[in-house]
Subunit: 237 residues, 2 copies
DNA sequence: TAGAATAAGTGTCAAATCGACACTAAAGGG
DNA sequence: CCCTTTAGTGTCGATTTGACACTTATTCTA
């Protein structure tokens, strides 16, 4: 049998495959806290519990896994987050009562303002701060996935400014430092933080200032953020 | 309908799922080069091409994805590699002629000696050096997966001594330095390399020496390697 | 058997980086 | 006008890093 013949007679339902879904841990920074987007499940299993935005691949509509995450995130937030990165894939026969189940997990970042109106308009979606998360009984193994996403983001805070994607397009260096401090769970020396930012050369001075109390702060934006969004497979480090 | 009832009537073949497989990029260090284990495909599609060891999840035998990789690697090498780490997951409707396909990829490391006899005994398995790899036309998107695995290992070489798992249990610091140099593609300063190793405090002096020409070198082994193997989900950094 | 050759392993020092902290700058408020 | 608040900079000692010469232990060879 040659390949052509094989493909013609190939039956995709010939053997059983695990359930395959995609989940996203979408973070934002708001009111001094990191928050995760949660969705109330409308279907069994774990119906009515809160869980991560995600779902099954649509073999017709999606051309790749990234299409699926984007589609799901857009459904829930109304927009495509500027930063999406593959986190890890979890698959076993215990995490889902229906049997063998695999989920490809992503972490994503967005400014809360970007999706504020859309999220406020629906009742089955909410931002939950990482502090109040332990008190919630999330669906499946989503609690540990959030934990893993948080760990990953913490590492990023050590050597990159990727957490900036959780802030509005224009932000001050103090804003960014606060995000990093929340992630790392400890204060950062102002001078060394600013030295690092300067060396990295990834921010642009917008020329604008923002003034609340005290000296007005310079507003920066990400150089890379020239409109399009950043997509990163976890093929690094 | 309550959850119990839902689960009783749930039909796993109710909707179409992508093909789900697992692939491993198994590296070893031999004769001054990094080599990858390749397997000749015995089935369509891409029959007779060389590809990565891997295959489908066995819903009966495997309790998790890691079981699957371990099973597949043991089939091909006769042993379980001491280091296995999730690399990334690739899924789209182009990589496999049969349609939508997802592969969960792992990188693994092993000493060539550990599986020498088993591999020599079969003809459909071979070590290929990374230099001669571009001339081979690998199955599916396996060439780019190897590339990604290599990149990941390169990063590890910068701040860890994980590449040590590609060496025999006992090795000299010069051995390890050579592996790192091959990975990074440039020479490393002997002193700084040894400083780093010493600080990390992850090696044990076995007390033995190995002498070829020149001064005999101390043989070290990994502290963690107390028999069992290391398994790492890519939830770090 | 005394070098010569070879590879392992150490000492040292200047340069670069990092942490700490005090200082200056620019705004608003009483 | 000075006090408070937050932004942003200067500086200096401590730590880390890179470069390279040097010492040590062994084999080979004349």
């Amino acid at each position: 049998m040659n390949e052509e013949e094989y493909l013609r007679t190939y039956d995709p339902k010939g053997f059983e495959s695990p359930l395959l879904s995609v989940d996203a841990v979408l973070f934002t920074y708001h009111e001094g806290q990191l928050k995760v987007l949660l969705v109330e499940r409308s279907n069994h299993p774990d119906k009515a519990k809160w869980g991560l935005p995600g779902g099954f691949v649509d073999l017709g509509a999606d051309t790749c896994l990234e299409d699926t995450v984007i589609r799901k995130l857009k459904e829930k937030t109304g927009v495509i987050p500027p930063y999406i990165e593959q986190l890890s894939t979890i698959g076993n026969n215990q995490r889902d009562k229906r049997g063998w189940s695999v989920t490809v997990c992503y972490t994503a970042l967005i400014a809360r303002q970007e999706c504020e109106t859309h999220i406020d308009s629906v009742s089955d979606t909410q931002w939950v701060s990482l502090e109040q998360l332990p008190s919630l009984d999330l669906a499946f193994d989503h609690a540990s996935i959030v934990q893993a996403g948080r760990e990953r983001l913490k590492q990023k805070a050590l050597y990159s400014i990727i957490p900036a994607y959780s802030l509005p397009e224009r932000f001050t260096l103090s804003d960014l430092q606060h995000v990093h401090e929340v992630l790392l769970g400890k204060p950062i020396q102002k001078k060394s933080f600013r030295r690092r930012i300067e060396q990295a050369d990834l921010l642009v001075d917008t020329g604008e200032k923002r003034s609340e109390t005290g000296r007005p702060a310079t507003l920066y934006k990400l150089k890379s953020l020239a409109g399009q969004h950043t997509f990163i497979r976890n093929l690094e480090l």
